[in-house]
């Protein structure tokens, strides 16, 4: 059977029986799970795993695909409405999303997140379907040095997140990076900053700390500064208007950037949706016609990260399907479902079980299409929540945060971390530091450190490995360029201005 025939058969298989219902249920579950702070896409998929036993393998896969797709969007709902990232991958979109909500444009922001995210996902899946095997060959060339270079590139965003004080922003970023060193070090088995406590061995819980820094601090802020009239405290006039075509076109460039970033970062092993969302935010700002809006309510600041974190779906599945090595935790759960159905994932999955793989391909496309109707319904329900009295909303959000952060790992220390970092986040806010820069450090810190050290082990201690490997060298060069470019341009401008000022003086 030819490629297209396989694909057609895949669609038929996915749509057969209760297929549509199952996929829609998966998407709904995923959106709700993703929206709950503390429950990431992978956790939502793991919670759905027991249900897959009763299903056959292809149906199990499309159910999980639905949950995955849903969770990628779901996380942005609380992020935009309440400054609370539902999943780590949605942290970047709150930078502008919450500001937009405060300006009364929550529904538009959520609509942009949904539609652009779906576009990004669909494009990345089409790329996956078309190029899975050749991409599978390429993925092994992305090793530790390349991932380190990518992490470094992403960290240049700190400058953009610093706000008025550059030094404080850097310090914040360093703080975030530092937090990732707490716990058991997998490269040597040594314990860092654990002070003899078994609990601290696991290190910080990323999502709980993020929620603390962003959402708990915001809730504490709202409680501690009670000046505003009740009705306007949170996203008062959310509006129910959806983005129209003109508005969607305005974010077209950002969506494109987000898709490209998502595709590239998704293929890189180790770097996932969260890293890609921040890199996309950074790049969208760099290439935007209105960069000064970022951080003050730019729709592009929502479109880019949300597109990117959806677009990693395709990239994650490349090593998963081509090599049997999961590209992310979410992909690992899909492989687990296969294993539990007696199917061995590996390089032969495509040739031994083509019907299964093509049903998955079809399923991926279908669930992302289903995202739009299901997403809109859930979105409207969530917008209703904004009509609650502010004290009720704030109390409910705090209660939700506690149980949500507990739920992911079933670890009571998670809500504790959310609380502690809520206080820290509040302090950072009133003293001019940047919680966003700290979060960026947390997100990229693990990657940066472990891949740096691993690269040096691979190269037997030679630092030259970073420039002898082509992809890595290119990324590092770009990073350097990005850092030096603004300084260079400022210097150039000053030099030109001085020349212009000197010229008439010279003539006279």
């Amino acid at each position: 059977m030819g490629f297209l025939e396989h694909l057609f058969a895949g669609f038929v298989s996915a749509l057969s029986g209760y297929g549509i219902l199952i996929m829609a249920a998966g998407v709904a579950w995923g959106i709700v799970g993703g929206a709950i702070p503390g429950i990431s896409g992978a956790v939502a998929m793991a919670l759905a795993l027991p249900f897959t036993f009763a299903l056959d393998a292809p149906t199990a896969l499309i159910l999980l695909a639905g949950v995955w797709a849903g969770a990628n969007y779901g996380g942005s709902i609380p992020a935009i409405l309440m400054r609370m990232p539902g999943t780590p991958a949605s942290a970047a979109c709150l930078l502008d999303g919450y500001v937009l909500a405060q300006q009364g444009r929550a529904a538009k922001a959520l609509g942009v997140s949904l539609i652009c995210g779906t576009i990004g996902a669909l494009i990345s899946i089409v790329v996956l379907i078309a190029l899975v095997l050749p991409l599978g060959e390429i993925v092994v060339h992305f090793g530790s040095p390349e991932v380190f270079a990518l992490a470094l590139f992403g960290l240049t965003l700190i400058a953009g997140l610093s706000g008025p004080s550059f030094l404080k922003g850097i310090a914040s970023g360093f703080f975030g990076l530092l937090l990732t060193t707490v716990g058991l070090d997998t490269l040597t088995g040594s314990m860092r900053f654990t002070f003899g406590s078994a609990e601290l061995l696991t290190g910080i819980d990323t999502i709980s700390v993020m929620i603390g820094l962003f959402a708990v601090s915001e809730m504490f802020y709202l409680i501690a500064h009670p000046a505003r009239p009740a009705g306007e405290v949170v996203a008062g006039r959310a509006g129910t208007a959806f983005p129209n075509f003109r508005e969607l076109r305005e974010v077209g460039r950002a969506t494109f950037v987000g898709t490209v970033v998502g595709l590239v970062v998704g293929i890189m092993p180790g770097a996932g949706a969260t890293a890609s969302s921040f890199v996309a935010y950074n790049e969208a700002r760099r290439w935007s016609k209105r960069p000064e809006l970022f951080g003050k309510g730019s729709m592009e600041g929502v479109a880019a990260p949300e597109t990117a974190n959806n677009a990693v779906q395709g990239g994650d599945l490349v090593p998963t399907l081509a090599l049997g090595i999961p590209g992310s935790n979410s992909a690992a759960i899909m492989l687990a479902a296969l294993l539990l159905h007696g199917i061995m994932p590996g390089p032969f999955l495509l040739t031994k079980h083509p019907d299964l793989v093509f049903t998955l391909f079809a399923g991926l496309i279908l669930v992302n299409l289903l995202m739009i109707p299901v997403g809109i319904v859930i979105l409207r329900l969530c917008l209703l929540a904004l009509k609650l009295d502010p004290p009720v909303l704030i109390a409910s959000v705090l209660a939700l945060i506690v149980i949500g952060t507990y739920a992911g790992d079933l670890f009571v220390l998670n809500p504790v971390q959310a609380l502690i970092f809520g206080v820290i986040g509040y302090g950072m806010r009133i003293w001019g530091f940047s919680a966003a820069a700290a979060v960026l450090g947390i997100v990229l810190g693990v990657l940066a450190e472990s891949e740096l050290r691993r690269s040096l082990i691979i190269s037997h201690g030679e630092w030259s490995i970073f420039v002898t490997r082509p992809v890595c060298a290119v990324l590092l060069f770009l990073t350097l360029g990005v850092l030096l470019y603004p300084a260079f341009m400022t210097a150039l401008r000053r030099w030109r201005a001085r020349r212009v000022a000197a010229a008439p003086a010279a003539k006279s």
């Binding site: 008025p164 703080f175 990076l177 060193t181 704030i394 109390a395 209660a399």
Partner: protein, 167 residues
């Protein structure tokens, strides 16, 4: 010259210093890698301390030049929106209530610990009508419990109620 900024700078230096001190206790290069587990924390601690020093320097040197001051240190700390006056009572109350709630979460279980917490937050925030005060804690608690326990199948701690509850 802002005393507040200087204190913050000093805090950064102190914090960075502590980190550096702690990092020196971590093994340098154990077994496998040349940088070792010590490098990153050491570098970051030094970096934070350095930021503190530079901030203090900026406070001393650039206070006469607003543009440069804006570059290096926070020129207008009150850049916040129309925020109301800070109320330490409410702030500490919120933190305290949350801390108590999290501490009681496991031993008391979710169903017992949550309603008082929600009521506490409603009271601290203020502005809730008495009927809301009575109903909301229970409705929210039950809604969340049902969603997590039965919808998502997450084992929420039941505390002493574990023996009584039929599920």
């Amino acid at each position: 010259m802002s005393l507040r900024e200087l204190i913050l700078a000093g805090f950064l230096v102190a914090f960075g210093g502590v980190i550096v001190a702690l990092s020196l206790e971590i093994a340098p290069g154990v077994q496998t890698d040349p940088l070792g587990p010590r490098f990153f924390p050491l570098a970051l601690g030094s970096g934070i301390a350095l930021c503190g020093l530079l901030l203090a320097a900026a406070e001393f040197l650039f206070r006469g030049e607003p543009s440069l001051a804006g570059l290096l240190s926070d020129a207008s700390p009150e850049a916040e929106e129309d925020a109301g006056p800070f109320s330490p009572a409410r702030f500490l109350g919120a933190i305290g209530a949350t801390a108590l709630y999290v501490a009681a979460f496991d031993p008391l279980g979710y169903l017992l610990a949550t309603p008082p917490y929600i009521a506490a937050i409603l009271l601290i925030h203020g502005g809730a009508r008495s009927r809301t005060l009575l109903i909301t804690p229970f409705v929210v608690t039950i809604a969340l419990y049902v969603t997590f326990r039965f919808g998502l199948l997450i084992p929420v701690p039941d505390g002493p109620l574990e023996a009584i509850l039929p599920w």
